[in-house]
Symmetry: C2
Subunit: 78 residues, 2 copies
């Protein structure tokens, strides 16, 4: 019995996975990126796991600290 995910949950998983991939491509630990963005590693883990529906400002901070544009951060498939 696998639970069917909502559109919102699928979106969260997709962007979380994308952010994790972008971060790992640059070999930056969660800890480091989180601290650059001024939040806790636990909260970045939550976001990458798709357990939150992040705001544009949170995403902007992540994009900035990965040195990519918001547009690139949004370049993923739902």
């Amino acid at each position: 019995m696998s639970k069917k995910l909502s559109d919102k949950e699928l979106l969260q998983k997709a962007i979380g996975k994308h952010i994790k991939a972008l971060r790992e491509k640059q070999n930056i630990p969660q800890q480091a990126l989180a601290s650059l963005c001024d939040f806790e590693k636990s909260n970045l883990s939550r976001l990458e796991a798709g357990n939150t529906n992040p705001t544009i400002y949170t995403l902007k901070k992540i994009a900035d600290n990965l040195n990519i544009s918001l547009k690139e951060l949004m370049d993923f498939d739902v």
Copy 2:
């Protein structure tokens, strides 16, 4: 004495302005887009005015109903 806006506020204004422009380019009233997205026109007005820090899911609904990608929706300058 004009108040200096925070990074967050500037971001909100920028995306709000961008969404408004995209909507007007398609000649869709706020009322209509809001109802397609299942929220009130007052809330879309608030968002376009830059008075809220929208979540990715809210932005996704807007992109979908403007028939553009999330990536395009994010193609604006801060």
